[in-house]
Amino acid sequence: MSTEEIRAALADIVNEVAGVDADDVQLDKSFVDDLDVDSLSMVEVVVEAEEKFGVTIPDDQVKNLKTVGDAVAYIERASSAA
């Protein structure tokens, strides 16, 4: 999957879990500060992303995923390592 495809699929998940407009879920956006996704919603996003992309994102890594770009990069790395 391309970076843009991962971003778009992640945007759909963020929309479903937190009701954020998918178009707002851009790489430079912070989950907490820009998109108002709190830590519990973030857990839901992560679990949905794990299923969608077939990767594992441990709890202790979630706090490092501050922006949409951080999450997309993590998913790219994790899926290429798999």
Partner: protein
């Protein structure tokens, strides 16, 4: 002289149980003192808005000195027995689930059985934390079907305010007090489905929700303080929302019920956000009524499911004959789920 003959190999007499078991009545006791978020926020530097957004909780109830584990249990049990139309002398066994009866022994259940006026019913406590009530329902149903008891009183009761630190940001706004009870007895039709239950005591999971210190460590400390509950909220949220949604679906499957046939979903009232995430993960259709007692009862651990059931029945959200899915999960980690018919 004839040698005495033994009885080696002779089969013993055995019990003959009921074909089917069901819940005959539900009862509740809610402590008198209502505690709004405003009373909680200063000690944890929080706000009413944050607590509601984070958990759905607006108010909860804290027990006073007279509202002991035994007293609350007796009150909830009387309510359940009246609803079931069962006399206390018909109760053969009392199973009480709690983690906050701070007298280690004897059990609270024997005092409850006595105060209710049972005919010296068998009585014992079980410890399965927030999953306690569904464990007790599974045991009660099997006792009735196995023939060890004809009527079993199951109780979930907590005074979590005794073991919650008012300054712990992860738990102070969550935990609360109360008691709920159910009478389980013979039924003409199968009214308690197969239990799906289990545990995960792997060290990391074991520590997710726990009493912080061992009593022996507390008692040798320079300034002994009550060992409070601790919880790693995000990890618990992940486990509860997703792993437990799968368990809930298994319980439906084992009972031969589809999500479309379900009337009521009554999960342990841990956090409204967990309830929301579970309902989403299970793809519950919009017609399913979902228990939301947590909004003004908080998380009462073993008491939360019978409290929520009693509320739904009283409010007309759950009607006699409705099919309800119960799922309870908590420290251990431990969990249990079953489908029941509303009495």
């Amino acid at each position: 002289m004839t040698a005495p003959t033994g009885t080696t190999g002779r089969p013993l007499l055995t019990e003959q149980g009921e074909t089917y078991a069901g819940i005959l009545g539900i009862g509740a006791y809610r402590p008198k003192r209502l505690v709004p978020n405003a009373e909680i926020v200063d000690a944890i530097d929080s706000s009413d808005e944050w607590i509601q957004q984070r958990s759905g909780i607006k108010t909860r109830r804290f027990a006073d000195d007279s509202e002991t584990v035994v007293a609350m249990s007796v009150a909830a049990s009387r309510d359940a027995l009246a609803a079931a139309g069962v006399d206390p002398r018909q109760v053969d066994c009392v199973i009480l689930a709690t983690v906050s009866h701070l007298l280690q022994t004897p059990s609270a259940a024997t005092a409850v059985a006595h105060e209710l006026g049972t005919d010296q019913a068998a009585a014992f406590d079980i410890s399965a934390a927030c999953a306690g009530f569904c464990h007790a329902v599974a045991l009660g149903a099997d006792l009735v079907r196995g023939g060890s008891a004809r009527h079993v009183l199951v109780i979930g009761v907590e005074r979590l305010s005794d073991i919650t630190s008012p300054t712990d940001r992860g738990t102070a706004f969550i935990f609360a007090d109360g008691a709920g009870a159910a009478v389980i007895g013979p039924s003409d039709t199968p009214a308690i489905g197969p239990v799906v239950w289990g545990s995960d005591g792997e060290p990391k999971q074991y520590d997710l929700i726990r009493q912080r210190e061992d009593w022996r460590d507390v008692l040798v400390a320079d300034e002994p303080v009550m060992p409070h509950l601790t919880m790693q909220g995000n990890e618990v949220f992940r486990w509860a929302s997703f792993s437990m949604a799968k368990v809930a679906l298994q319980a439906l499957d084992r009972a031969g019920v589809t999500v479309d046939e379900l009337d009521c979903f009554v999960p342990h009232q841990a956090n409204n956000r967990i309830t929301d995430a579970m309902a989403r993960a299970m793809k519950l259709p919009p017609h399913v009524r979902i228990a939301r007692d947590i909004v003004d009862s908080g998380n009462t651990s073993a008491a939360s499911i019978p409290l929520a059931l009693e509320r739904m029945i009283r409010d007309g959200e759950a009607k006699s004959g409705d099919v309800a899915l119960l799922i309870a999960f908590g420290a251990g980690l431990s969990y249990a789920a079953q489908v029941v018919t509303i009495p």
